[in-house]
């Protein structure tokens, strides 16, 4: 069912219909951000009225997502983060919320030097990300499921909220890094000044890494078109400007990371506190726990490389992007990992089961409702 259809369908849940409204706002937001970015003067002069619209649409989307979450909470009678569709909805909500927080905390427009434009581009990417997440959710089951006893804990909302907010913030930090890398790449393409090795490595990283390239490829392609237009205006950064931009991007990405990292740490250990209360086992080395720990360690590595190793600029930002890839793996791909087959956190509803007598004991604990006899009854 497409979002337009669901808006007017009476037999579809209210939260699903409200999500469609959020999608419409995201489309409007993308357009508004694009227009605002093109209309802003690069020297940071006071923006025209249209340049206030991105943040207004962002706030409107935030308010809509609040109602989506509230409606879903009412529909399922518990904190709506049990099924994958609910968790992804929370993630899209967190993306918007994180962008609102960062917009205020970072106040990018005051940095000058084109950061007002980049602020609009970041908000555009967030709108695109929310829309894409909702499109993905439409392929997932929205059935209400009862909370098993272990999930009926006061830790549930805190653990999930902290982690998902941190994931959203880290995603935005990765967006910042990506914007730098595409800027440098296209500057090299259109104006030269970059070594061939650097260019090839950047191109390979942005196009060949599976699943990550779902995000990086479109950004690379669209930014290429945008920068081709920018070159014509003579505003393409190069040389010293690019070096200054690298420092600036590095600073912004670090500050974005700094907002999210305490939440990542808190969310990770809240899971341990909760597991301790439920099973007197603060760390069961479940693959979901391990994947989250890996993500945390990647960011710990980032901090150490930055603070002890003096890593800055593209080196540091590469690690941040790797951290976001780890977030994606933890969030979406961990169900395919070998040790995840018996994980308590596994969401994968792909219906793939080992055949009897062939593969050994059925390894997953996924919900029995997903194991529907296909010759349906």
């Amino acid at each position: 069912m497409n979002p337009i259809q669901s808006l007017f369908d009476g037999d579809v849940a209210l939260s699903t219909r409200l999500t469609s409204i959020a999608d419409v706002l995201c489309i409007v937001g993308v357009l508004v951000c694009a227009v605002s970015a093109f209309m802003r003067k690069a020297d940071g002069q006071k923006a025209a009225l249209v340049s206030r619209l991105p943040i207004l649409v962002l706030v409107g989307t935030f308010a809509t997502m609040v109602t989506v979450v509230a409606a879903r909470w009412k529909e399922v009678n518990h904190f709506p983060s049990q099924t994958m569709s609910e968790v992804l909805t929370m993630f899209s909500f967190a993306l918007v919320a994180a962008m609102v927080v960062l917009h205020v905390a970072l106040d990018l427009k005051k940095r000058g030097g084109g950061w007002a434009v980049l602020d609009d581009v970041l908000v555009l990417l967030v709108f695109a990300g929310v829309f894409a997440t909702h499109a993905w959710i439409r392929g997932l089951s929205t059935a209400q499921r009862d909370l098993p006893p272990a999930l009926q804990s006061y830790w549930f909302p805190f653990h999930l909220t902290a982690l998902i907010f941190s994931y959203a913030t880290m995603a935005i930090a990765a967006f910042v890094c990506l914007l730098y890398f595409v800027t440098r790449f296209w500057s090299g393409v259109f104006l030269g000044g970059q070594s061939k090795k650097t260019q090839w490595i950047t191109l390979a990283a942005l196009t060949l890494v599976p699943f990550v390239h779902i995000v990086t490829l479109p950004i690379l392609a669209i930014s290429g078109l945008v920068f081709w237009l920018v070159v014509k205006t003579g505003k393409m950064p190069r040389g010293e400007q690019l070096v200054a931009l690298e420092k600036s991007f590095d600073d912004v990405s670090f500050k974005t990371f700094a907002v999210g990292f305490p939440f990542l740490t808190a969310g990770l250990w809240m899971g341990a506190f909760w597991a301790q209360e439920a099973w007197a086992n603060y760390w069961g080395w479940d693959s979901k726990e391990n994947s989250a720990l890996i993500t945390w360690l990647v960011y710990v590595l980032y901090i150490h490389l930055r603070m002890l190793g003096g890593y800055r600029g593209s080196k540091a930002m590469s690690v941040l992007v790797a951290g976001a890839a780890s977030v994606f793996l933890t969030f979406q791909l961990f169900g395919y990992m070998p040790d995840s087959q018996k994980s308590l956190h596994r969401y994968t509803d792909d219906g793939v089961q080992p055949q009897e007598g062939q593969m050994g004991p059925a390894p997953t604990k996924s919900d029995d409702q997903a194991r529907v006899e296909p010759a349906a009854k």
Binding site: S141, N290, L305, D339, G357, M359, V372, K377
Partner: protein, 869 residues
């Protein structure tokens, strides 16, 4: 004096990433060896021989020499750990070590540090690969026939092996198969990103889609979409499973080699391995060296306090983790309300590893609460799929039965709204009362017969021993009474005269034993083919199968010892149909050998577990006995009219008036009395809800949780909501089938509600209350004071803590309501680890949130007041 060129001071070795990694990896390997030696010595319970003494000396030598090295090279060691490259290497390797455990499935019970994959180096590959093809002969979920075949085949393959080898072979195989499937699943998806190259889903069969369309009309678009997604996943999943299986078979030797490598390197028990412990030990040392570099005063500066706190937190965490690794034992206590105190539990869920506790525990109370669930059915639809089940809470609304309105927009024709949910309901036996003629909630005309079989000495039995039979001519499942002694059967008819009753007798299809319901599952067959059959009939079934009815019996009996049917020698007409069955001969279309298959009415062959063991398993056949037409005793029809005049019409045409309270003139020993007659009977359900029953979801102890009283619910049922034809009715249901308190049928019979507590899924909650016992002076167990019931109550997310042990709720068994599974943990490291985690959180908040804010304020203050310090 000038210094000689060859006496210039030596430049200290500069550690880089490669050299740092080399040293750390070497330390991990050494750690694995040392740990293995220590394990060997500490777990050896016999008298030490030369081997043990040599190992002990080697170990002691290693410890002493390592200590001497560290002391003598203290500056170098300190510089090593304070080098950035070493710190980053330690963090990186920790990351990769954790990742290794994600990439390699960990063995079952890896938390038990003594658990290992058994070695089968003394078993040939030929034997192993043959054995690996078999199903698990110890898997009780397999059908008996399949399990016994697997056991026979396994015995054959392992004929030349000793019992120990067989046991090791079995353990290795099960671990290998779990590894093989997990890695195969991962590799398959890795080499088919985005589903490229995976089997293409051909789409749901048309019959399924048609069924879903009908389903959508009743349960809504979203419900249909969710159901469709599940079905597609299940269909597609099967094909992908097959593809993964093929890939695994084609690369079997590679998977086995990978498994053996993972086992040798302890990758499949990574987190309990010695190399992992050595790595974390080095990490701890590295953090310690770097945390306490500057002065104590500096640690409290805004610049450093967050960083120091985080590091202290991680160090505390690692210390606690080390204690947990060394001292933890976990397991399960199987408790039962009927049993006395127990002081032993199964360590790591293994019944062969019993561990004692210094006290005993007894299960005093156990309660399980399931989700209150409502199922809504539409009798006219007969969906084969499981109906949606709605968990109930006050305020929940469910819209159903959609139809387009004047503007073409689908609107619900039924709305259910949960008004209240009660933890206690009392249900008195329902009674039938006479309703109004056109009353929609009436169930129609009803006659109640009371059978009063005589006792052995001829005296009638008491009313309590006299079963009542309800005859409802408008209900196909309640129209008939069959004498338990098998001497007569009575159908029913409501009409002003006996003409219809006579027609019922004249229309008997003599010899028809029942209906076969057949479908071929593999063809996506959803709607079954229903065919009436007699003994000797040959029918064409779906999928080209030819089915012959060889025999039929009203009472199928099976001797488990001889594994043969026990054929009743009596004529079929004299046997009461308490377990009807037909014996079929099924001939496949390809002319292959026929399968003789008994089909019992009371077994549901839709259950795939029943189908699995059959030879022609794709053909699903169910049978329904026809108690009226099948060969049997004399037939009669009880007819009555709106004036209350009843007549018994027999097969030979005789009509006998029957008054209320009078015996019916029937053959045999059973005495049947006409007790009541209704023209338009209505069920007077007596359900009393207790609004004062406490809500049992609160945090405090509540003995009401352990009550087994039925629960109740009030639902407002509105038909045609949001229209001017809207009609609402309050329906009360209770979770017991006494007097059908859990069912309600709409007056127009269009739909029904079924309320129940869903024990097929995860429960709402389990709770147990334990008591603690210790031996008294006379050796008998004496109950100890371990706190109030509230303190001794266990819930999920709230365990019971006593003498260093923690007890938590793990599971229950619905079929065994007195059983409670209690998890046991003894882990003195817990409070230290938790404290370390809190410190880490505090540290990151200080470093990344508080510090920037404080420094920001400071900067602004300095900017605002130039010249001030």
């Amino acid at each position: 004096m000038q210094s000689e060129p060859d006496q210039q001071p030596k430049r200290a070795f500069q550690w880089g990433f490669a050299s740092a990694m080399g040293v750390v990896l070497l330390a991990m390997i050494v750690g694995q060896f040392v740990g293995t030696i220590v394990d060997g010595l500490t777990t050896y319970h016999g008298t030490w021989t030369g081997r043990e003494w040599v190992l002990a000396v080697v170990l002691a030598g290693f410890v002493l020499s390592s200590g001497a090295f560290v002391v003598s090279q203290w500056d170098g060691v300190r510089r090593f750990f304070r080098t950035m490259h070493v710190g980053v290497t330690l963090v990186s390797l920790s990351l990769f070590a954790v990742f290794a455990g994600v990439l390699v499935p960990q063995i079952e019970n890896f938390e038990d540090s003594t658990e290992r994959i058994p070695s089968i180096s003394d078993v040939s590959d030929e034997v192993f690969y043959a054995y690996a093809l078999l199903p698990n002969e110890r898997d009780r979920t397999l059908p008996d026939e399949q399990r016994s075949q697997a056991a026979a085949r396994a015995a054959d393959i392992t004929r030349g092996l000793t019992d120990d080898q067989k046991e090791r072979l079995h353990g290795y195989r099960e671990a290998y198969r779990a590894f093989r499937w997990a890695e195969g699943y991962f590799v398959y998806h890795l080499i088919h990103p985005y589903g490229i190259g995976m089997p293409k889903f051909a789409g749901l069969p048309q019959q399924v889609t048609d069924g879903l369309d009908r389903f959508e009309k009743k349960y809504g678009r979203e419900e249909r979409d969710n159901r469709e997604k599940q079905m597609k996943a299940a269909f597609n999943g099967r094909e992908i499973s097959t593809a993964i299986g093929t890939m695994i078979r084609n690369h079997e030797s590679k998977f086995r080699a990978a498994f053996d490598v993972a086992t040798t390197l302890h990758l499949n028990r990574a987190y309990k391995s010695h190399w992992f412990a050595a790595l974390l030990g080095m990490l701890f040392v590295g953090i310690a060296f770097n945390t306490f570099k500057s002065t104590a005063a500096a640690w409290l500066s805004m610049r450093k306090v967050g960083y120091v706190t985080v590091h202290l937190g991680v160090m505390t965490l690692l210390i606690g983790g080390a204690i947990s690794k060394a001292r933890t034992v976990r397991g399960i206590l199987h408790m039962d309300l009927r049993e006395g105190p127990k002081d032993e539990f199964w360590a790591y869920m293994d019944p062969t590893k019993l561990r004692g506790m210094p006290f005993s525990l007894k299960l005093e109370r156990f309660g399980r609460r399931d989700w209150k669930t409502l199922e809504v059915g539409f009798p006219g639809e007969q969906f084969k799929s499981q109906l949606p089940q709605y968990t109930l809470w006050p305020g929940r609304k469910v819209d159903l039965d959609f139809a387009p309105d004047a503007r073409g927009v689908d609107r619900p024709r039924i709305r259910l709204e949960v008004v209240a949910v009660h933890e206690r309901a009392a249900v008195a036996p329902a009674e039938l009362i006479e309703g109004a003629q056109d009353e929609k909630s009436a169930i129609g005309p009803v006659a109640i017969l009371t059978s009063t079989p005589s006792a052995a000495d001829g005296t009638p039995r008491s009313p309590a021993e006299s079963p009542k039979y309800l005859l409802a001519p408008d209900r196909s499942d309640r129209r008939l009474m069959y004498d338990p002694a098998g001497r007569f059967r009575i159908s029913s008819n409501f009409g002003e005269d006996t003409a219809a009753a006579k027609k019922i007798l004249a229309d008997v299809v003599d010899g028809r034993v029942g209906w076969l319901s057949m479908r071929v599952a593999a063809a996506g067959g959803v709607e079954p083919q229903n065919t009436p059959v007699k003994i000797g009939d040959t029918v064409q079934g779906p999928g080209g199968y030819t089915i012959k009815v060889l025999r039929a019996t009203p009472s199928f009996r099976f001797d488990a010892k001889t594994e043969r049917e026990v054929v009743d020698p009596r004529p079929i007409t004299e046997i009461y149909p308490n377990n009807p069955a037909v014996i079929l001969s099924i001939q496949p279309s390809d002319g292959g050998p026929a399968e003789e298959r008994p089909i019992l009415e009371r077994l549901d062959y839709e259950n795939p577990e029943l189908q699995k063991g059959l030879r022609l398993s794709e053909l699903v056949v169910n049978f329904t006995w026809d108690p009226w037409n099948a060969p049997g005793p004399e037939r009669s029809v009880l007819q009555w009219n709106s004036s209350g005049k009843a007549t018994l019409v027999s097969a030979d045409g005789n009509e006998t008036p029957v008054a209320l309270g009078a015996l019916l003139p029937l053959p045999g020993e059973s005495k049947v009395v006409l007790s009541q007659l209704f023209t338009s009977a209505k069920i007077d359900r007596r359900i009393t809800l207790d609004p004062t029953a406490p809500i049992i979801a609160g945090p405090h102890f509540d003995s009401a949780f352990y009550s087994t009283d039925p629960t109740g619910v009030e639902v407002r049922v509105t038909t045609d909501p949001d229209t001017d034809r809207a009609h609402s009715e309050m329906v009360t249901l209770a979770s017991t089938d006494t007097s059908f308190a859990n069912f309600w049928t709409a007056p127009d019979k269009r739909f029904y509600l079924h309320y129940f507590l869903n024990d097929k899924a995860q429960p709402f909650e389990w709770r147990s209350v334990l008591s603690v016992w210790k031996p008294g002076a006379d050796g008998k167990p004496v109950m100890q004071d371990a706190g109030l019931e509230e303190d001794r109550e266990i819930r999920v997310n709230d365990y019971f803590h006593y003498a260093g042990y923690r007890f938590f709720q793990t599971n229950a068994i619905p079929e065994l309501p007195t059983y409670s599974g209690i998890g046991v943990v003894y882990d003195p490291g817990i409070p230290i680890v938790l404290f370390g985690m809190y410190l880490t959180i505090l540290g990151t908040v200080l470093a990344f949130i508080v510090r920037p804010i404080v420094e920001g304020y400071g900067k602004r203050a300095r900017t605002a007041a130039p010249g001030t310090i």
